[in-house]
C-alpha cells in the first residue's frame, strides 16, 4: 500500500539494483488493482442483470434507484472504513442511525424550526460516536464489546425516543435530501442521496490520503505500539474515527428519515452494520487494520446494492436471493484472491 503514491516517476535516489522491494510503480498498480479489484465483479453483475432482467437494469431510472439504495450503506461504510483501518470495528452504526433518524424527525416537527432536524441527527450520531470512542480510547475496552453494548443500548434509547412508535412527518422540511435529484447533464439526474454519498467518499479520501491525520490512522492500524512510541496520540485517533463513524451514522439517519418521512426506533437500521462491514471488507480493507482504501468501500457498497436490486429485478425469489447473495459475496473475494495471487509475504 503506497501511501503517498503519485510520483512514482521520480526514480528514487537509489537504483533498484538487484535486491530491493517492489518498485513504486508496481506497488501503485497493485494498490489500484486492489482498490478497483472488485470493479470487474460489479460490471459482470450489472451486465448479467441487464440481460437476465429484460434489459431493465442499465436504464437511467434503475441506475438512479441503485445509486439511491447504495447511498446510505456507502455513508456508513465510509465511517466503518476509518474504524476498521485502525483495527477496530463499529457494530453500533445501525442503532445510531435509528436514534439519529428519530432525532431528525422529532426536531423536524418543531413548527418553523424543522430544519433543525439535520443538525440534531448529526449531533446525536456524533454524541454516541464520542461515547464509543471514549470507552475505547480511554477505557481501553475492546471495540467489539463496546459497540456491541451500544448496538443494544442505543437501540433501546431509539425506541424510547419515539415511545416505541413510528414518528411520521409528511411535511418534512428536508425531504429533498431523500427524494430530489440534481440534473447534471441533459437527461442525467443524480439523486441527492447519491450526491451526499459521493461527497462523503471524496472527503474521506482526502482525509485519508492527503492529511497527516490520514497517515496517523493508517499508522495506528498498522502498529499501535509503534504509533505510540512515535509520539502519535493514539487515543485522539481512536476518538476521531469512532466519532466520524457515529456522525456518519447520524448522516445516514438524516438520509433515511428524508427518504422515508418517518422513523421507527425498533425496526430502522437493523443489521445495517453487517452490510457496512461487508462493503468495507469486499472493498479490500483488511480487518487487522492499516491496509485498505475508501474507493474499495464505495465499490463494495455498490456491489451489495446491485445484488439486491438486480435479483429483485430478475424476479429471483426471496429464498434464492439469500443463496445467490451469499455465494456472490464469497465468489467475489475468491475471484479477487485468484487475481492477486502470489503477492503475499510469508
Amino acid at each position: 500500500m503506497s501511501d503517498i503514491s503519485e510520483d512514482s516517476t521520480a526514480a528514487g535516489p537509489t537504483q533498484p539494483s538487484g535486491g530491493a522491494g517492489l518498485s513504486a510503480r508496481q506497488l501503485q498498480v497493485r494498490s489500484i488493482v486492489q482498490a478497483l479489484g472488485m470493479l470487474p465483479v460489479l460490471f459482470i453483475l450489472a451486465i448479467a442483470f441487464h440481460y437476465l432482467g429484460d434489459e431493465r437494469f442499465l436504464t437511467p431510472q434503475n441506475l438512479s434507484i441503485v445509486a439511491q439504495q447504495a447511498a446510505i450503506n456507502t455513508v456508513l461504510g465510509a465511517g466503518m472504513t476509518f474504524v476498521i483501518l485502525t483495527g477496530g470495528i463499529d457494530l453500533s452504526v445501525g442503532s445510531i442511525l435509528a436514534a439519529s433518524a428519530m432525532s431528525a424527525l422529532i426536531f423536524s416537527l418543531l413548527p418553523g424550526w424543522g430544519m433543525l432536524g439535520i443538525p440534531a441527527a448529526l449531533l446525536t450520531g456524533l454524541g454516541f460516536g464520542l461515547i464509543n470512542g471514549s470507552l475505547i480510547a480511554f477505557g481501553k475496552l475492546p471495540p467489539f464489546i463496546v459497540t456491541l453494548g451500544s448496538l443494544t443500548a442505543v437501540r433501546g434509547l431509539a425506541r424510547l425516543m419515539g415511545n416505541d412508535a413510528t414518528i411520521f412527518n409528511p411535511d418534512l422540511p428536508f425531504a429533498f435530501i431523500g427524494n430530489a435529484a440534481i440534473t447534471i447533464a441533459p437527461g442525467v439526474r443524480v439523486p441527492v442521496l447519491a450526491v451526499i454519498a459521493i461527497v462523503v467518499i471524496l472527503i474521506s479520501w482526502y482525509v485519508l490520503r492527503r492529511t497527516v491525520l490520514g497517515i496517523w490512522i493508517y499508522a495506528v492500524g498498522g502498529n499501535p505500539a509503534a504509533a505510540r512510541l512515535s509520539g502519535i496520540k493514539v487515543w485522539r485517533i481512536l476518538l476521531f474515527v469512532y466519532s466520524v463513524s457515529g456522525m456518519l451514522a447520524g448522516l445516514g439517519g438524516v438520509m433515511s428519515a428524508a427518504r422515508l418521512f418517518a422513523a421507527n426506533g425498533l425496526q430502522l437500521g437493523q443489521s445495517y452494520e453487517l452490510d457496512a462491514i461487508a462493503a468495507v471488507i469486499l472493498g479490500g480493507t483488511s480487518f487487522v487494520g492499516g491496509i485498505g482504501s475508501i474507493w474499495g468501500t464505495l465499490i463494495g457498497a455498490l456491489i451489495i446494492a446491485v445484488l439486491s436490486n438486480g435479483l429483485t429485478l430478475v424476479g429471483v425469489s426471496d429464498i434464492w436471493q439469500f443463496i445467490v447473495k451469499g455465494l456472490v459475496i464469497i465468489g467475489a473475494v475468491a475471484l479477487d484472491r485468484v487475481r492477486l495471487q502470489g503477492s503475499a509475504r510469508t
Binding site: 432482467g53 431493465r56 436504464t59 431510472q61 434503475n62 434507484i65 439511491q68 439504495q69 446510505i72 416505541d164 412508535a165 413510528t166 411520521f168 409528511p170 427524494n179 433515511s256 427518504r259 422515508l260 418521512f261 418517518a262 421507527n264 425498533l266 425496526q267 430502522l268 437500521g269 437493523q270 439486491s308 436490486n309 429483485t312 429485478l313 424476479g315 429471483v316 425469489s317 426471496d318 429464498i319 436471493q321
Partner: protein
C-alpha cells in the same frame, strides 16, 4: 382490459409462515387471471428502508400491482404514492397502507377481542392474566388493544404484565413465559399475540409442571391445529385466513386495474375462533 403480467409483494417477514401463505394465495389468484403472471415475494424484515427499496425495485421491474404488508401503516405513504405515480395499483394486505388503492386485512382488534373473550370466559372472569406482547407492529398493537378492552370490562381480572416481547417466535415466547412463570406463582390465563408464542408458552409451562393455565392466541396457524388437538394448554386461536387474504387482495387489485373501485377501500376479513371443540372442522390456512 389491462393485462396482469407481474405482481410484486413485500411483506413484513417471510419467516412467518403466515406471510408465505399470503404469497401463495396471491400467486394462485394471479395465475388464475393470467397463468403466465410473474409473482415476486420479498421480505422487508420490518425495515421500512428495505421496504421502500423493494417497492422501488418493483417499480423498476415494471410490475402491474404491488401488495404491500406495510412495516408502518402511515409511513409507507410516500412509497405508495411513488408506485401509483408509475401507474401501479397498490393494495395493502394484513395492515393498512396509507394512500393505497385498497386494503385487505383481518380485523385484528376483533381477533384480539374474541380470543380474550374466550379466555375470560374460561377462567370465570376472574384471576391473573398475562398479555404476552410481540413486535410492535400495528396488527400486534390492535390485537393487544382488543384484548385489553375485553379484560378491562372485568374488574376481577388483573393483567399482571403486557410489556414483554416474545419476538413472535416459539423460543421467544418460551423464554418470556419461563420468566413469567417464575415471577408469578399464580397465572390463570395467557394471551399470546400469535400462535408460535402461544406454543412456546405452553412448552414452558409443561416443563415447569404448571397446569391449568388457559392460553389463547391469534392466527389459526397449522401448528396450532395440532396443539389444539393435543395435550396442551392452548385453548383457542382467533383464526386468520392468509390464503384468502392474498387471493382477495389480488382480485381486488385486478378489478381496480379494470377501473372497478371497491365501495369501501378498507376490506376487513372477520376472524373466527378456533377452539378445541371446533378444530376438527377448521379448514386451516391452505385452501
Amino acid at each position: 382490459a389491462k393485462d396482469l403480467k407481474s405482481v410484486g409483494i413485500t411483506v413484513g417477514s417471510l419467516g412467518n409462515p403466515y406471510f408465505v401463505t399470503v404469497g401463495k394465495g396471491a400467486t394462485e389468484a394471479a395465475h388464475a387471471i393470467n397463468p403466465q403472471a410473474k409473482v415476486t415475494v420479498a421480505s422487508a424484515d420490518y425495515d421500512l428502508n428495505k421496504q421502500f427499496t423493494q417497492i422501488d425495485n418493483f417499480i423498476a421491474a415494471g410490475v402491474d400491482m404491488i401488495l404491500v404488508n406495510a412495516a408502518d401503516p402511515r409511513a409507507i405513504a410516500p412509497a405508495v404514492k411513488r408506485a401509483q405515480a408509475a401507474g401501479i395499483v397498490v393494495i395493502g394486505v394484513d395492515v393498512a397502507a396509507a394512500g393505497a388503492d385498497a386494503t385487505v386485512q383481518t380485523n385484528n382488534t376483533q381477533a384480539g377481542e374474541i380470543s380474550c373473550q374466550f379466555l375470560a370466559d374460561k377462567i370465570g372472569h376472574k384471576g391473573n392474566v398475562v398479555i404476552e406482547n410481540g413486535p410492535q407492529v400495528s396488527a400486534v398493537i390492535d390485537r393487544v388493544n382488543g384484548c385489553k378492552k375485553v379484560f378491562s370490562a372485568y374488574p376481577d381480572i388483573k393483567t399482571l404484565s403486557s410489556d414483554q416481547d416474545g419476538k413472535g417466535s416459539r423460543d421467544g415466547g418460551m423464554n418470556v413465559m419461563q420468566g413469567y412463570l417464575t415471577r408469578f406463582p399464580d397465572i390463570a390465563g395467557v394471551f399470546a399475540i400469535n400462535d408460535p408464542q402461544a406454543i412456546g408458552s405452553d412448552l414452558a409451562a409443561h416443563q415447569l409442571n404448571r397446569t391449568g393455565i388457559v392460553i389463547t392466541s391469534v392466527d389459526g396457524a397449522p401448528d396450532i391445529v395440532a396443539a389444539l388437538k393435543g395435550p396442551t394448554m392452548v385453548q383457542a386461536s382467533a383464526s386468520q385466513d392468509p390464503f384468502g387474504m392474498g387471493k382477495l387482495a389480488v382480485q381486488t387489485g385486478y378489478e381496480i386495474m379494470q377501473g372497478k373501485k371497491p365501495a369501501d377501500p378498507m376490506i376487513l376479513m372477520p376472524s373466527h375462533l378456533v377452539t378445541r371443540e371446533n378444530v376438527g372442522s377448521y379448514a386451516g390456512w391452505t385452501h
